[in-house]
Symmetry: D2
Subunit: 341 residues, 4 copies
Amino acid sequence: MLVVMRDQASRDEIDHVVELLEEAGAQAHLSGGEIKTIIGVIGDRETVYALELDGLPGVEEVIRVLKPYKLVSRDFQSADTVVRVVRGAIVGGDSFAVIAGPCSVESLEQMQSVARAAKDAGAVILRGGAYKPRTSPYSFQGLGLEGLKMMREAADEVDLPVVTEVLDIRDAETVAEWADVLQVGARNMQNFMMLDELGKMGKPVLLKRGLSATIEELLSAAEYILKGGNRKVILCERGIRTFETYVRNTLDLAAVAALKTLTHLPVIVDPSHATGRRDLVVPMARASLVAGADGVMVEVHPEPERARCDGPQSLDIEAFEAMMADFAPLLRLVGKDARVT
Amino acid sequence: MLVVMRDQASRDEIDHVVELLEEAGAQAHLSGGEIKTIIGVIGDRETVYALELDGLPGVEEVIRVLKPYKLVSRDFQSADTVVRVVRGAIVGGDSFAVIAGPCSVESLEQMQSVARAAKDAGAVILRGGAYKPRTSPYSFQGLGLEGLKMMREAADEVDLPVVTEVLDIRDAETVAEWADVLQVGARNMQNFMMLDELGKMGKPVLLKRGLSATIEELLSAAEYILKGGNRKVILCERGIRTFETYVRNTLDLAAVAALKTLTHLPVIVDPSHATGRRDLVVPMARASLVAGADGVMVEVHPEPERARCDGPQSLDIEAFEAMMADFAPLLRLVGKDARVT
Amino acid sequence: MLVVMRDQASRDEIDHVVELLEEAGAQAHLSGGEIKTIIGVIGDRETVYALELDGLPGVEEVIRVLKPYKLVSRDFQSADTVVRVVRGAIVGGDSFAVIAGPCSVESLEQMQSVARAAKDAGAVILRGGAYKPRTSPYSFQGLGLEGLKMMREAADEVDLPVVTEVLDIRDAETVAEWADVLQVGARNMQNFMMLDELGKMGKPVLLKRGLSATIEELLSAAEYILKGGNRKVILCERGIRTFETYVRNTLDLAAVAALKTLTHLPVIVDPSHATGRRDLVVPMARASLVAGADGVMVEVHPEPERARCDGPQSLDIEAFEAMMADFAPLLRLVGKDARVT
Amino acid sequence: MLVVMRDQASRDEIDHVVELLEEAGAQAHLSGGEIKTIIGVIGDRETVYALELDGLPGVEEVIRVLKPYKLVSRDFQSADTVVRVVRGAIVGGDSFAVIAGPCSVESLEQMQSVARAAKDAGAVILRGGAYKPRTSPYSFQGLGLEGLKMMREAADEVDLPVVTEVLDIRDAETVAEWADVLQVGARNMQNFMMLDELGKMGKPVLLKRGLSATIEELLSAAEYILKGGNRKVILCERGIRTFETYVRNTLDLAAVAALKTLTHLPVIVDPSHATGRRDLVVPMARASLVAGADGVMVEVHPEPERARCDGPQSLDIEAFEAMMADFAPLLRLVGKDARVT
């Protein structure tokens, strides 16, 4: 850690900072340039980083050079984490995982129809929402447990694993009974109690980036889960909130390439939520693939115009199949393996 | 609702939209300008608004003219909601409520020291965090139940009510035993399960605006609580995330003035989290007062430089007292009542 | 245009709006739902859109359904505009144009070295800055006219056209003497006088998106140039400013796909400025290619670590050649034509 | 400057950085913690800061501890700069300057009406746009030179100075003939050629913050003008672009308080552009006053609903007079001097 003092910092102000550092058991090394004094700090990382020196008289800036996360870092583990889900689904490493399904589970028939299409076209995990986070209390909130059961039945018929969101920490156990991958939604990325809880469970976790979360905050959220003992974490870029309103969110594809250098965890992209517009889903899915993503999660619905949620960003089955056909040569080119037909 | 068709929308595309609308029991009224066809829709609001017509062939834009909230609106209730907390504390109407206390509860002595200062200077509610949401799992996470008890004891000694954050929905009952106002933190503003739960409880709720939540989303979150039956909701502007990095967040003071016109609920400001810098807290608190806020919540610590959390944005007791003295003539000017000495 | 009245709008307020509309020669059509009155407006577009009705008593919102641009729209011209630069360089249509060169012109040798590499690897235009916009007045501001001449000489030796930024409208003529494509930098995207001026000149214009410009504002800026009579406009996405600080800007790749549907103008991507980080340039260039961009502009420097500007985001010649080799099979896949070897 | 090396930086990578530093005439001081090596750099500031070391192999981050500006800094000059305009108008120090007038000059009568009201109520400078920057080429672009003359005549009649925007650098001399303060609009904040030019002129400059400009960038822009020799610079906060769409821009009032600590230049607020909504202008003007601003610039129009520009954010004369009356006691309270009646 470095403490940069103001140009006019007095001797007393500098001494006071040094005193606080030493009180905390750290060593302070002063280096005075012509204009500024900078205090280098060495000591126990957590103790030192917990010091609240910013804003003290004479202090201009406190610079923390170590990252706030460890276990998720490529420095800690250089080899890619490969998350092995049940039924042969793999996320990370040399595979490219396609996750497909509707925004929300609406009926058994709907799920069966999507599940068959997903399986046939080469998707490896079925998605669907049973508990839906909705901005307005007057919007459809999902079928709950009944939805979970429908999705499970449809997935079992085609032998696919299932991913779904845990919206309420009190439902985590129930959801885990019916699903194979537990999703943390964007609005819950910093629900630290939920991260703690999922860290203690054994199931793979799909962690979505928050609407205004930095890359560092996403990695810190994942750190909560790994620190709890669960290393099966898949990160998901799903668009961030910016001033641009033409799209629902702004897909931050550079974050995917950046994450691949910063962490060993697999990183997938959700182009459906990132754009909110059907016509942008396929180009962004293609772009994700060649930018190094480990997979994509796309919304597919047999009848998007009659969907109860996110219809405008859902592909119909034909468009989904076309996207998958389109992926095949790209995957061969980048040397990735997928069940894509 | 209005459906704006593309310039080149075909007859078939228009007919298909009308068909979907009628299928949902709504009436469609076409008005064709020279360039565009616009379809006006009349029907049951929730059914109509749930339709997923954006992105359909020929559809350019779907415009929802009704707000996604009702109960919180000034159109629904024109008179100010006045939230009466225990022990005579009032938020809303003609009063100006000052809430003060440290970021986190650290010891009984610390809380007693702040509680006395808060009471003496005219604050009406004591704040303090027992369960802390922290970006990094390696940061201090709060004293939990022990912290709640310390805060309660300190508050009782000076006869002040207490506000504290409910971080985990499973702790809501416990927190409600020890606290008088339940705070929903910025990261939980769209934790809809928690909003539902607090809607069923009788205690006043302090709802903080999310880091990237729009004014409309904040009001929709409050709507969840009112819809559940609890009308004692206090809104809190605490800064939003923008590109500017000099401050911790960007205080959106215009949102306070806007909220006062859109909703009958009281609106307070947290200038400590909004700025993250001690030297900006007082000017922003003053500005909030004259801009129409119903109160402020400020972080006060007996020794900010030794705080375990948010030291850089905490006022020491002397600075807090000076701020309160500074408030008195401003309050007289705006005709607001406060216990400020 | 539609004027949405507040729920409680009075008869007088509605009448007053109608009166103002009729005063301006427009027709007003009232449609009263149960809750709201909406006024549909028909009349001369420019007159109607210039009316300042927002904020009038009783007015909730004014919705302008027509786009603020015409000539750049796909509705106006459905076929792709193909910009033909001199010496056979083509931007738009079936070609994929690579533009390469250093951030700033530093010496003839530097330009010759990059020009040869660019030409050999298949780039079709040489870039380089002679007049540099720099945040600080103490940074290197470019070599000016001398720089233009060096770049011209180097480009001529390998028979490539040249693109460079017009920083000062007073230099436009001079720059046009030495360059083949005139670049409008992100900070000048809304320098309307410059857009007007370039609209009157015959040379192709490369228009970069502003740091916080919406897609609609970018198209409106291009409209200025087309309105002036110059239809040779190339749009360039170069990253927008968001809260994320890991990268220099946030590449908005979805905007590229969106622009391709909204306008007939060619759209290229500058992954160097968009990311500011060398290791992210190639993945983002690849992603741009498959997302439908008509080209990329990348910074290449013989010795990035000794560059006088933007070294951290510049590729060295070897990395540039590798990127171009990497492009070849992708281009074959998407059926785009490029000189890439 | 500090160069933070990656955890795994090799000896060779560290040596290479040191070599580049020494090549540039700087001294490198290595300090190796357990995890990281940090290189402290001492040498000529401009040379050192121009080095492009970010992104080099082994380099994690380059930290520049000195600010990119000097002359505008409080460290350089601790006393407030007081800008003395002609006719007794003062901006900075103990005065509070109100600047008032319409968005655009439309007629002599309009200007006379506003000028009289402005003068009577205590405003010290008249504003008005003759050259208007408009997003769309189809919007009203201002009356140009004729507008300048009308504004001058109206101002002379009531003995007020005039501020107006220089939109095109080629018009700077002409504008300076007719106006007393030259305004740089938000879109031109980083039009460095214009800043250079205004730095050479003697007239006071009103520099508006760019839509997505950081506080540091605003100060760097002002530095251009001071470096050119003109120290009469007034900064103006006018809202920044964020995700919130209810308001036109987000007023960043904390930036005003922050600027007052960072620079000696006067700082005013434009609540009209910052909010875009008439009903928010007065509360934000009041808030600016108590937050420490040196003045406000507000749009006033005799008939806002018939304004040719920015009607929705313009006060009518009655509302303006009420605001000024409202200011008087606040000004007495903060000890500021104003001509406010």
